[in-house]
Symmetry: C2
Subunit: 256 residues, 2 copies
């Protein structure tokens, strides 16, 4: 299972190189994609003001419209057409499709995140059945509450929740792709990738503030996946997917 | 199988009333939706000039981006969330998803339609499998050419092609919903609905120019469906779906 973010989605060459490597994976696979800059550009063109709190977009009704169009429409369907041309039988979904991911509107005292979803339940049977039918789910970061409301949902978390739910039935490897070659000891130096990270070491790095703050939510998701049954999590550059899979690149997170 | 157009999509009350009736259908069902005015409004906001020839939108690269966002993203996913809230387990797709509808770029001497698709093949097995798994496909009017290109595709034609392909395995009823209560003898008078239309009568109406010109492509699609195995086609108002199904409203087209 692979999650890609904006740095790959926004760069046609990186995306092309990534999708070729993804399509070539022979095991059952799932792709989860984030947003990218297009949503921001379209919101600007449509003169919808964008507000961010702690790196999360505040999703008012107009912004939800834009992210639904861009994530579930433009990005998702272009990836699907591309994967089909590479003979990967992809099926693009949101969590509303097939009722595959149910969430609720985030409520937190003092902050109104708008139409942001926190996941309640992944339908592991839906994913398992779709995979058994020879299809590769490609998930846009939109879920629903079962009452008719779409909700903007963090793609890293979606990846972790699907991975966890499927780990009851499959041996699951979760790959988080981002712009760095792995978790770095020294954020300024790309040659300091930590090859293997386990919980004890991670806690130590956090305590000594050696880990880049922006990495913490991603690593917390990664360790949550490991603690809930996922076999391993690999973090690195999506365009090196083939190397990540065989352990020749990136940071591998597993049990101690 | 039901096809809805812009008049229902653009009107939240009509859409709500239609979806309730659609969700209540107990037989296996498929929904095909068209575009509506939102794509035009968004194209205007994004300052993309729109050109129409013979009522068909000319789909240049920028327009394809907009229709992919609006049809496959906004409209499709809102319908899905809505149907899920009505306990209809809907799955939203384009023809690229699951490689369900393959088409080629329309080529016609003298006119460049841009990224418009003419259908080559519907994967009846995909639809049949999805229906058997208890899911209701909801199809946006976008297909692909198998080489990575998405193509804007007429929703009436998609409906006819899916209906035809499934008629080899199922008894198929195709419902075309539009803004009139049926095919009218007198286009100015909604009380002149033709209850039953067969090919001989249709030819006669065409010859005597008694049929509204805008109806002809829709009726040609309808008769093509009948000639290729579809049991009957019903044309009328989507918000009267329950009445259309039992034959108490609309025009029914079947073999003579």
């Amino acid at each position: 299972m692979v999650k890609i973010g904006g740095n790959i989605i926004d760069d046609e060459q990186l995306l092309s190189s990534f999708l070729k490597k993804f399509a070539a994976i022979r095991d059952k696979k799932i792709l989860i994609h984030g947003g990218g800059k297009l949503a921001t550009r379209i919101a600007e063109k449509m003169e919808i003001p964008q507000q961010m709190i702690d790196g999360r977009r505040i999703t008012d009704a107009e912004t939800l419209k834009v992210v639904t169009m861009v994530y579930a429409g433009y990005i998702n369907k272009n990836i699907i057409a591309w994967l089909q041309s590479l003979e990967c039988n992809a099926l693009g979904i949101t969590g509303a499709d097939g009722n595959s991911i149910l969430s609720h509107k985030r409520e937190k005292a003092g902050i109104d995140y708008g139409f942001a979803g926190d996941i309640d339940q992944v339908d592991a049977f839906w994913f398992s059945q779709t995979l058994s039918n020879g299809q590769t789910p490609v998930v846009a970061p939109i879920t629903h509450d079962g009452k008719g409301q779409l909700l903007n949902t963090n793609a890293d978390t979606i990846a972790q929740e699907i991975a966890t739910s499927l780990s009851a039935f499959f041996e699951v490897v979760l790959i988080y792709s981002f712009e760095k070659p792995g978790v770095l000891k020294d954020v300024e130096n790309e040659n300091t990738v930590i090859k293997k990270l386990h919980l004890g070491y991670y806690k130590e790095l956090k305590e000594t503030e050696k880990i880049f703050a922006g990495m913490i939510p991603k690593l917390d998701n990664a360790f949550k996946a490991i603690e809930t049954g996922v076999q391993k999590v690999i973090i690195g550059k999506g365009e090196e997917l083939d190397m990540l899979i065989i352990g020749n690149s990136g940071t591998t997170i597993s049990h101690e």
